[in-house]
Symmetry: D2
Subunit: 297 residues, 4 copies
């Protein structure tokens, strides 16, 4: 990892952190953390691997896992699994075809997933947190309410998307409630170490059974397939090409990737490229799979 870090250092000042809300804008952009955990339990933390950051869209993987466990294949009547061909927040209309968002990782899809969880669960906020805590084995993981409220306040585009979905009849709960829950889910803060640990669950090395939510090996494989094709907004092809692992990124600067049956790796650096993915994070993972000559292909 030190080698990788040395090689990506020239990119350390490239890109710009998310600044659409104050809570994200005030993060020190010159940080870098990484942690790889193998299925046999070895953990390789590096630099700020224990600094918590806003996981943002990475949360959509957890939400998908929960809803897939609850609804099974019926879930896909509510949300598609095709790449969007558009950036994560543009073109409200094209993201929604007759009310069905193209996949669960664009905002429209994640909002529908949030709506499903609200309908299915008694106390969605508590149960979602319990699920993540069980995955990561850490009870101190929590929402950051400052971030969530700040996102809600400025969340006009997501509000537009939610209203479009409601217009198409594909959201059952109150728009405000769904949006608030969605923003809370995105506000969860975790460290690279915690993320790597949580994503071991998606390597299929052990049965998936956390906080009562179960997924079959086949379901896990399929979730990885969705991450592979849809996990990186308009850069899914690029990531697949350069890194060759299923994964998910967030505008907080975090990226998690999975090598099935082998390891999970999380990387974090706040500066983003024009597609909203961490510059150093993308580079680090590319070097990791190139150096180890290991990708799923």
């Amino acid at each position: 990892m030190e080698d990788i870090y040395q090689e990506i250092l020239p990119f350390a000042s490239k890109g710009k952190q998310a600044d659409y809300i104050p809570a994200l804008a005030k993060v020190n952009p010159d940080q870098f953390g990484m942690c790889l955990e193998t299925v046999s339990g070895e953990v390789y933390p590096f630099r700020q691997a224990d600094t918590r950051f806003s996981i943002q869209s990475i949360t959509k993987v957890f939400a998908l896992a929960m809803s897939l466990s609850l609804k099974g294949e019926a879930l896909w009547k509510r949300v598609g699994k095709e790449p969007s061909g558009t950036s994560f927040n543009s073109l409200v209309q094209l993201e929604v075809e007759k009310g069905i968002p193209r996949n669960p990782f664009i905002n429209a899809g994640a909002i529908v997933i949030a709506d499903i969880l609200m309908t299915e669960l008694d106390d969605p906020e508590k149960e979602f947190l319990d699920f993540i805590r069980a995955l990561a084995g850490n009870d101190t993981i929590d929402y950051n309410m400052e971030v969530a409220l700040s996102e809600r306040e400025k969340g006009y585009l997501n509000a537009a998307i939610a209203n479009m979905l409601k217009y198409h009849g594909t959201i059952d709960n109150d728009i405000e409630d769904v949006l608030m829950f969605y923003f809370k889910m995105c506000s969860v803060e975790m460290t690279c170490r915690e993320l790597a640990s949580a994503f071991i669950a998606f390597t299929n090395a052990c049965p998936f059974d956390f906080a009562g939510y179960k997924l079959s090996p086949s379901q896990i494989k399929r979730m990885n397939a969705v991450m592979q094709t849809c996990g990186f907004y308009d850069e899914a092809g690029e990531f697949s090409y350069l890194v060759g692992l299923p994964g998910k990124s967030g505008v907080g600067g975090g990226i998690v990737a999975i090598y099935p049956m082998r390891y999970a790796v999380a990387v974090w650096s706040p500066r983003l490229n024009s597609k909203g993915n961490s510059v150093m994070g993308m580079k680090a993972l590319e070097l990791l799979t190139t150096a180890t000559q290991e990708s799923i292909f």
Copy 2:
């Protein structure tokens, strides 16, 4: 395979073969062939595994391999590698962003690849055929000129795409010449056995060096990544989800999939679903990876 075949029999009359040109319309739709070849050379043919059919868009994988060998990473300045989010022939405009097609497997991208091959090669038609013959180890593989000419005659949409590309300045050669070469490449006829054999080259089990065209293991991996995210038109996510292997389909009813370092499998049945992919072919590959519990994820 017999088990798989029995299970997919109920789907034998679902879908409709491509009928936009007479040469494809006259194929007997009630055929099914399959062939799996392992990297150690075992071959498992099934039913019409030795019947030749029009490989159509599967040819785009061969064209990509050739152009990647010739141009290296510089190729990606001419064509992207992101999923299109649209069907393979719709929305001319959206397929081309400032003249750069979204990926090499949509028609716009394949036409740019055809243009590149024409610029780079002395005798593109002969050399392309030589390359495929070397990959499949069979010198009788050939273009079907009836199909090529028939496609050219009715190819208004591809002509529209080629003119759009020329307007954007991203085609160097004469439009008519590029289109004719493109249609010839699509008209190549192969059997499932030959396709499986040819695609062993993309499993990375041996060094890639055919008819003088070389690709590194890393380049092969990346080609597989592109197939995974872009190989099935508007059903890339669905195929990735159900089958979990990189692959490519064609409107002739053929599908090829690759398990890196393990095997290549080709399946063929002319009846297509609404997205232009073989109904029985998709189903057969889904059952294959489910039965063997083997996918790349």
Copy 3:
């Protein structure tokens, strides 16, 4: 008019009234009213010319007049004057180019106008009503709060549009407040007689000066030009072609048209065609200008 009425009777059961809110759905669809008023003060009412109905989008003409009087040509920095090329409520995204709605008669444009009025006026709801009352010379004209609240409750698409505008920074006031004012403006109820009388103000026969709001003859002409090109959603060309007068329609089934320096005519019948314009209303106005051989062309 009796002749016209006899000729359009075969269309009396064609089309379907707006039913997206109960208050509009419960209107008896089999009604027809018409009233022509000349600039010299002659009034020709016909059938239900004195029945009040929901003027809906016709209100956008009054709102445009008010904001044009307040802001002058600077208004056009906030809203365009080009036809939209799309239906009145579809394609949220295309209606708004970098936050500038294409014209003041699509919903996005009218919402921006509502925002402008809220910023400029002390008591926008009262002053807007005062303005309409002065135009029509009738102090009993009022909002229908049942309609307004009902629209607000179901107004997901307009809420999506308002959020998109806010995201682009082109709405200054609170979204909820702007939407409520917008829906109130649309809920105003008037008769054909009152509408014809109010629209005499836009014929340029007399100086425009109502409730303190003044417009020059040149500004009136230009407002008529906007009505001509943008007044009928996706049927502006059709109306211009068949009727040849500037005008504005509403989903309540009303249509008003203006013959500059000559007359204003209002017609009402609740059944709408697929473009959201009154079937009998369109037909009646076509016959009127064909019979009199009078159009602006």
Copy 4:
């Protein structure tokens, strides 16, 4: 006119002439001509009123008149009459809805009109020229073959549009033939004086009967309505707003406008604004109708 000219002089170097083909690029951009002809036969030429220039899209008015005379209202089954909401050559796809171009003045629509004329006429090139010569009363008006061939050579976008139309089955004749005829029609050269004279025919002051082609007063009015809503690409609203007359522009820098029953006016200056309309031409016509306080509204 001298007054108008003095007032628009500050705009004399604004904009840039069309330069996509050499024949247009080599025109001296610093020219200005204008000619107004009244229905009673008075002619007011100004400056380069007798210099011929490429009428380009203004030809679409003549082609529409001819096809409307030949096909009557049935014409509108092949082409719509709604404004496009897009620029004259962008967004191939959106211009054509199920093969029906939105109006006869966008390129897609004019290409369909060219196809209709080719089907209906024995010698379309000769008859089209005869028609224009009859309208302008001048037998020396002719095609400029250098311009037509040069446009054909570079006409990739129009070729893309024609192929899209053929794909949708809405062009009957050979694509190459239709395009060549279309480009010839656009290459016609006329002076401002000739254009004003020809457009008197569309003022409805006299019966329309030229070279055997007749149109009723009602048909003329409706043609004017189409010019009003669709005659200026993406600036139809702006022209309607500022000038208030039906008209048509061309990328050669010409604009013609009509005051029904009163006059026709042609203006020419090669420098274009970003929408493809003559900068000085637009300004001159705006001042003309403002100064005379005469518009159709």
